[in-house]
């Protein structure tokens, strides 16, 4: 469909006929778009925070590879659901060939008690390699999205520690242990025997999540392997170059496991069995965003429908004349659709600039707050990225254009003579 320059001119000049109405309609679109992009910018920021915290700081990886059914049954039967060294080597061979993979490392998970003198406290621990500690700590995604958490570490990192059995504990747990360095770790071996070993607290840190803040510890892989008397691991954490590929790559891995009859299962970090906090938080925020988007879209549609109806009432004779000289209702609906399209483009462009300015002002203000479920305070940051704005802009512009098209088409159907004799208000 070719649109002539005369139609563009006519459409843009028609917008200036009733400037106040065009401005009010444009403001409604702009305000809605601005609100959407700023809220979307907040959600995007939270998503990045949760993703980085889940994947890197809590060492989940973009994909976790467990023994088949291990996610659900590992804690009841660890001996059966640990990944043995042979299977782990097969997995290493597979992952080494994949260009999507940035890094991978084995992890061992255990529960137990951490004791100082007569006080002992339950822990949920994760054993990692020193390379994984360094990788997560120094990753640019962590620097970008979670620099605060990264810097919330007191003491030497695991990868820098010279201690034989170094342990990182959360600040809360460290307080329970009266901030003493030498502790005793107690737990069950994979054969359900009791075991204990001495360890040294080298570091205090925060998990970033309230739920895990008073029970978490991180240690090195040999420490837990000794405690649990095993040479196996719980899962392999796989870090991808592009986190958007987590789902497709986990599917690819699963099909490789099936083809090679390897009893392993790959799940992405947003699978609620392993990333409950991430999925819970994000599903809630996405639902609110969807509702907000619906609300804004309704306002845009009603504003445009109202403005167009009034425009048509004022221009009914003109539209009748155009029909008389040969334009079809579709042609005229298209013309009014172009008007609405231009208005929506202008409103959205202005809204984009306004939202960027508001975001800049908010981000420079360094507003601190404590989001639910997050340990401690964080900066209130808005990130209305251009790509995010585009995601909201396209449907809004489409809704405004289609609404104008449909309203016009409906209103100018019928006998042309009636349009020509109808009194304009």
């Amino acid at each position: 469909m070719k649109i002539s320059s005369v139609e563009w001119k006519q459409a843009s000049r028609n917008l200036l006929r009733n400037k106040r109405r065009s401005v009010v309609t444009g403001l409604a679109i702009m305000a809605g778009f601005c609100g959407l992009t700023l809220f979307g910018g907040y959600v995007a920021r939270v998503e990045r925070y949760c993703m980085v915290n889940t994947v890197y700081m809590n060492h989940m990886g973009h994909i976790q590879v467990h023994k088949t059914e291990g996610i659900d049954k590992y804690f009841s039967k660890p001996a059966r659901y640990l990944i043995d060294p042979e299977t782990l080597q097969a997995l290493v061979d597979i992952l080494s060939e994949k260009k999507e993979v940035e890094f991978f490392s084995p992890y061992l998970v255990s529960n137990g008690l951490i004791q100082y003198e007569s006080d002992s406290f339950a822990f949920q621990g994760k054993a990692i390699t020193k390379e994984a500690d360094r990788f997560a700590r120094e990753h640019n995604m962590v620097q970008k999205w979670n620099a605060e958490l990264r810097s919330s570490v007191d003491g030497a990192h695991l990868s820098d520690s010279q201690e034989q059995n170094p342990v990182m504990v959360t600040y809360k747990l460290a307080n329970f242990l009266k901030n003493m360095r030498n502790v005793n770790l107690q737990g069950l071996t994979v054969d359900n025997g009791f075991n204990a070993l001495d360890a040294t607290i080298t570091t205090r840190y925060t998990t970033g999540f309230e739920l895990t803040e008073d029970t978490s510890i991180i240690t090195t892989l040999p420490v837990f392997q000794e405690l649990m008397a095993t040479d196996g691991v719980t899962y392999m954490g796989v870090y991808l170059k592009n986190d958007m590929k987590a789902r497709s790559f986990s599917q690819e891995l699963n099909s490789i496991f099936t083809q090679n009859k390897i009893a392993l299962e790959a799940v992405p970090f947003f699978d609620e069995r392993i990333g409950l906090f991430y999925t819970g938080s994000m599903n809630f925020l996405y639902a609110i965003t969807g509702f907000f988007f619906l609300l804004v879209s309704t306002v845009v549609i009603l504003s445009v429908a109202n403005a167009i109806s009034m425009n048509i009432m004022e221009r009914v004779k003109e539209l009748g004349t155009m029909r008389a000289i040969g334009f079809t209702p579709q042609d005229l609906a298209r013309l009014v659709g172009i008007e609405s399209f231009i208005l929506a483009i202008m409103s959205v462009s202005t809204g984009f600039l306004v939202s960027q300015l508001i975001a800049l002002a908010v981000n420079l203000s360094n507003i601190r707050f404590s989001p639910p479920g997050i340990a401690g305070e964080m900066q209130f940051v808005l990130t209305p990225w251009p790509s995010l704005c585009l995601i909201f802009a396209v449907p809004l512009i489409l809704f405004a254009t289609v609404t104008a098209y449909l309203v016009t088409k409906r209103k100018i159907q019928g006998e042309v003579s009636k349009l020509l004799t109808e009194t304009s208000t």
Binding site: A324, T328, E415
Partner: protein, 227 residues
Amino acid sequence: MTNQIIVELKGVHRSYQLGETHVHALRGVDLSVMEGDFTALIGASGSGKSTLLNMVGTIDSPDKGDVIVDGRNVGHLSENEKSLLRNEKIGFVFQSFNLVPVLSILENIELPLLVRNILSKEERIARAMEVLKDVGLETYVHHRPDQLSGGQRQRVAIARALVTHPKLVLADEPTANLDSKTTHSIIDLLLELNQKKKVTFLFCSHDEKLVQRVSKVVHIQDGLITK
């Protein structure tokens, strides 16, 4: 002049509901207009002459009877086909000019050429300039309608009606809103176009000056053609 019939109405009826009143605007009208005719429809206000013009212009539909324009029975055409017929074969001149206020004179005249969109921009402008010369307004191309006098606006409306080279031009009271001097110049222009371009004109009017100068007069009274 040829003797081909360009418009034919056979037993055309049209009635309207105006509030609680049922108005019979046309009561079985038969009419033939030949190519090249310069025909005036004369009648009192409410006699049905505008309704008849609307029927011929395919912007209204009869309750009963046939309207045939350039050999095509309008009753058998879809809305889009009627739009195309109007665009290709019929030009309209309205009493209040009905120009698009946001467009320049040139753009107003270009407007009917956009419907089929078969001409390039340069061709459209050339065609619009040609008819603007015919109506003597070639120096006003970039003016807006509100910058012109009533007579000039009606000339623009005539140019717009002629730009598609229609076979038939319908004019509803084309001089009703004009002063005496302008009325004469518009009548002269219409007659000149009729004679030079062989365009068929059918118009309704109260204007005695216009009626005196037409080749054919059709009288209509209470929805019936009387002579």
